[in-house]
Symmetry: C2
Subunit: 234 residues, 2 copies
Amino acid sequence: MPRLTPEAAAFDMHAALEGVAIDRSRSIAPQIYRELRTRIIDNRFPPGTALSETEVARICDVSRTPLRAAIQDLAGDGLIIVKPQVGSVVAPQNEARVREAIFIRAAIEAAIARRLAERGIDEAALAPILAAQEVAAKRDDYRTFFRYDEEFHQLLAQMADVPHAWQMVQSIKAHIDRQRLRLMSSISGRSLRAFEDHVRLLDCIRNGDASGAAAVMRDHINSALENVQTGLKG
Amino acid sequence: MPRLTPEAAAFDMHAALEGVAIDRSRSIAPQIYRELRTRIIDNRFPPGTALSETEVARICDVSRTPLRAAIQDLAGDGLIIVKPQVGSVVAPQNEARVREAIFIRAAIEAAIARRLAERGIDEAALAPILAAQEVAAKRDDYRTFFRYDEEFHQLLAQMADVPHAWQMVQSIKAHIDRQRLRLMSSISGRSLRAFEDHVRLLDCIRNGDASGAAAVMRDHINSALENVQTGLKG
DNA sequence: ATATATATACTAGTATACAAGTAGCGCAGC
DNA sequence: GCTGCGCTACTTGTATACTAGTATATATAT
């Protein structure tokens, strides 16, 4: 086993895996994947945590086979680092990695915005979400706003008809979200700024301003960079 | 087993897997992954081919475990469709999928071009590749040109310092390359046009024209769309 | 005391056995 | 001839046993 960091030494694996419930009538591997992924993103498994396949499998009461499949998938996402014959650890939060994740998300979502501006959209479908966002934003209720923000972006991706692109965004977004929770309430007025971005984005789309829409979306996503500079120590 | 298409019925699995050599001193799973991936992309495993884990494992003389891991990874790439308790097949070549792959690649690489224009690059490193491209392009030698084109784009990604973004491009590019080989020599003058794109791209980067660089790159990648319309039946 | 060899207790990678589910074929009955 | 039930032969999913490699601790020699 790799040397434990002080933080990881105090880590309680049983506590971190509390609430894991497996439905034996469905495939186990994807369920374990989801459970672990959620816990890594919300930092119940802090970066650097050692994950022994045997130990986790025993605690979750499943065999190593589906658990291993989940670990491999998480390694593919870059959330777990597997060192052959040595051990697996939750990937450290690397500033460069987060910045690159934001870069990729901005690239894909800007392209989505561009396409929507070129093709036009059904604004009616977005209206209720946008209204809910406005309420949350004016209350500076970032938690609620964040939920509708997710919906908003997802709906745009659906309208652009690029499901796999959205899947990639979801995958890469894990690296961004993993550090977002730490600071989400720290910056006041953030929701309002984001809401205004959305309004400006829809303006551009409505006017068929493809480059403008892409630029607004790019800046909107890139605003997460502000967190990176202040949020990560390394 | 899923019903066989006429094409797949005549398929010879042993022939398709010829040349698979496993180095038992290294991990087997990634080796199998590479071997299968290569064969799917160059259509030695035509779309729709049924892949039985047991059968392929036996022919490759490995156990199901590492082979299964490879299959799962390929399913993650969208190159194989796994139907639980039914069977796995090589993913059909879907026009929408290819178009979306091009969309994603264009998005990421356009963002790379933009970043390079903002930051500036070391043109000297690109010069030899560009020179080799010019020679191949003027001979209309698409095969050679294609090799240098790959190098060119990879080097740009390296310069932009986004290794994971490039990894994603590589992954998604499989869907594009799978249909490229069929037509690569069909359109004459293609290399020259691509070469001119590269020159214009470097012009924009040199002048710090971020939007221009992004636009050139976007159009450059999107030119692959011309193949899609004529190349796929469905 | 320090450096080096070695034992030990882990790790992930692989092989194999078993379970559960699906599709297609064939036969019985209508 | 046609319909429907059931058997059979596959498939992938899971559990477990085994292999091989690594890091740490311990003992030993210098």
